[in-house]
């Protein structure tokens, strides 16, 4: 009985300790960001591996999500004779929800897991402690550029996802199902607001980019330095990122679109 309570207590203490370490880690990253602007080439290289390599996945997924939205939306709307509203349906669901959320989930799977594995392997092969020996702060040299790159890439990827998705919805709606293209675009423009819809979606994606990159980098930095530990950390990155994205999405949606 006492043992159970003790193990519960130990679990609680260790989770709080981990949470604290995570936040201290974040503070050190943020403190290292300003000097990155002097050496921006570090960030550019990370932008390539974090952002550019995710573009293909984001474009293909966005296109198919948009096409499916077009098909499903048409089937529902045609019953009410409102198939001209297809553009509104596709654009609002992509710009407000699916664009930021799905691209963040894909980003966590594609870039987040790679970041964790990379940092975790650097730690287990003692590259990070080697840097510390040479008086190079690994957080400023290795972690901070990756963090900034994730923060910059995510909104760009989400915007690409939404734009390609709307194009996919248009392809299916106009090309395959014969919705009038003038009505498709004009209704979309009437109902989609730049500040309320598009800008809030971008804010969402910035928040997701922040959280996903933070989780990925911390899991890698905090991983047990064995091959098994790195593997577990990679899994945890994807799982925790997915929880964080979906949970935060609810909170942000309630804040942004709750009052009408």
């Amino acid at each position: 009985m006492i043992d159970t309570i003790r193990s519960l207590g130990r679990w609680g203490l260790s989770s709080f300790e981990r949470l604290g370490r995570g936040h201290l880690f974040l503070i050190r990253i943020v403190a290292g960001i300003p000097e990155l602007f002097l050496r921006f080439s570090l960030v550019v290289h990370q932008l390539f591996s974090v952002g550019v390599l995710s573009v293909f996945l984001i474009l293909i997924s966005g296109l198919f999500v948009g096409m499916v939205l077009g098909l499903q939306g048409y089937n529902t709307l045609v019953d009410f004779g409102a198939e001209e509203s297809l553009g509104v349906l596709v654009s609002l669901s992509l710009v407000r929800e699916l664009g930021p959320v799905v691209s963040a989930l894909l980003f966590a799977g594609r870039a987040g897991s790679a970041l964790t594995a990379e940092i975790g392997l650097m730690k287990s092969t003692e590259q990070l402690s080697g840097m510390e020996m040479m008086a190079v702060d690994p957080i400023r040299r290795v972690i901070a550029p990756r963090f900034l790159a994730g923060l910059i890439s995510m909104p760009l990827l989400a915007a690409l996802f939404s734009a390609v998705g709307i194009f996919g919805g248009f392809l299916v709606g106009h090309g395959l199902l014969g919705v009038d293209d003038g009505a498709f675009w004009s209704q979309m423009q009437v109902k989609t607001d730049w500040y309320d819809d598009v800008l809030n979606g971008i804010i969402k994606s910035i928040v997701f980019g922040f959280v996903v990159t933070w989780i990925a980098l911390f899991e890698g930095y905090d991983a047990t330095p064995t091959s098994e530990g790195v593997g577990r950390a990679t899994t945890r990155t994807v799982v925790h990122s997915a929880f964080a994205i979906l949970g935060l999405d609810f909170v942000l949606t309630a804040l942004m679109f709750g009052e009408e």
Binding site: S41, V44, H45, L47, F48, G51, V52, V55, S91, V95, I152, S153, P155, L156, L157, A159, L160, S162, A163, V164, I166, W185, M188, Q189, V190, T192, D193, W194, D197, V198, I202
Partner: protein, 155 residues
Amino acid sequence: MMQSKSTEITVGMFVAAGIAALFILAMKVSNLAEFNDETGYQVTAEFENIGGLKVRSPVTMAGVRVGRVADINLSSETYNAVVTLNLYGNFDVIPTDTAASIYTAGLLGEQYIGLEAGAEEEFLQNGDVIDLTQPALVLEQVIGQFLFSKAEGDE
């Protein structure tokens, strides 16, 4: 060196593509382009009942969209709804005795304001008030009146 150059080029293309996507979302998908109309002017109209009219609902004249609803308020004196209309600058020859009515697009569609031009020689300016208004048709009231008159007719 070659390696880093091609990396920089692809990153540049990525950032440019992302910004282009944002631009498309702004101009093609959302209504940002409309906000840039600096020459627009505002007029107000008082309605007994606005039904389901909302801020940003369209204002049309002969079916052509000439503006949007900018603001809806309740007058503390007459207890009528005071609607501020934002009219586009290129429609600046609307007579002062124009009538405004609230219509519904389709049977269940959204509500909008329709303007019918008057015959006055002077045109609406910024800050003017439209006096001739017709309130929204509330479907429940119409059905109620219809049933009432039907019951009366049977007796």
